[in-house]
Symmetry: C2
Subunit: 144 residues, 2 copies
Amino acid sequence: MTSRTTAPTDALPDEPAREWTIAEVAQEFGVTHRTVRHYEELGLISPERRGTRRVYHRRDRTRLALVLRGRRLGFPLEEISRIVNMYDEPPGEQGQLAYLLGQITDRRRDLEQRRRDIEDSLQELDELERRCRRDLSALEPASP
Amino acid sequence: MTSRTTAPTDALPDEPAREWTIAEVAQEFGVTHRTVRHYEELGLISPERRGTRRVYHRRDRTRLALVLRGRRLGFPLEEISRIVNMYDEPPGEQGQLAYLLGQITDRRRDLEQRRRDIEDSLQELDELERRCRRDLSALEPASP
DNA sequence: CCTTACGTTGACGTCAACGTCAACCGTTCC
DNA sequence: GGAACGGTTGACGTTGACGTCAACGTAAGG
């Protein structure tokens, strides 16, 4: 009940190995089942197949949360794919690791730029609000 | 020379009323002329028309900068349109102002959510980098 | 056994944000 | 004066991120 859509970032120790259907994850994350399947087509998540049905585990939910955060930030899904795959690759050899470090640097630069953009936007919003309130109080000096 | 694409946020006092061609603004802002025209079709900028040619003024550059910042943040252009139009509307009457204040609140909420997402992402990147460097130093204890 | 609910696979549709191309116009410069 | 250059207007193409629809499978409940 902490957030509007049930905030499924949980890892409750009492549920040892829960499983979820597509309808459950879709609803909990506030997306359609089509979106979930689309992400699977792009390799962003790969749920277990039990017969023909998809079975989602905590791992899938973790990845989906990462994907949706990337989406909120406006990243294209292909880039998101590379990002989430950075996180659960095996340690790898030195070339891989150096490459990964480079990717990390790039991503950090990008995110820091975005943060600056956001700070600037917020500041300008503050300014605009001040002007707005000033104009408003100029219209009616006493609140009716 | 502060940024890669000449950072055209200037307002040099020595140039009293400069004008720009589409090629100039496109190059300085790092977009194509098609993009600039597209933004005009959507009403995001409205350059002067001298005969058939477009003539851009500081006002257009200011708006374009706002638009591109919104784009970097991943906002859809339609939403960006509403945002930039918030900034240079006339003061308006009390209903308008109240509405505007509501919009400001909404935008702020959105931006703050994004900022949280970015902070989280940056933290996780830090973690990943630490793991990465640890793995790397485990491979070659002395740098060759 | 039949319905109902949920799930699955294509496959086509859509919408935003441009890219690309053709055809054309107006200066300018040799 | 004509060729090159930059600009303009359609108009169609493309890509990403899904929406939507049809047709079908299957497990559960009455």
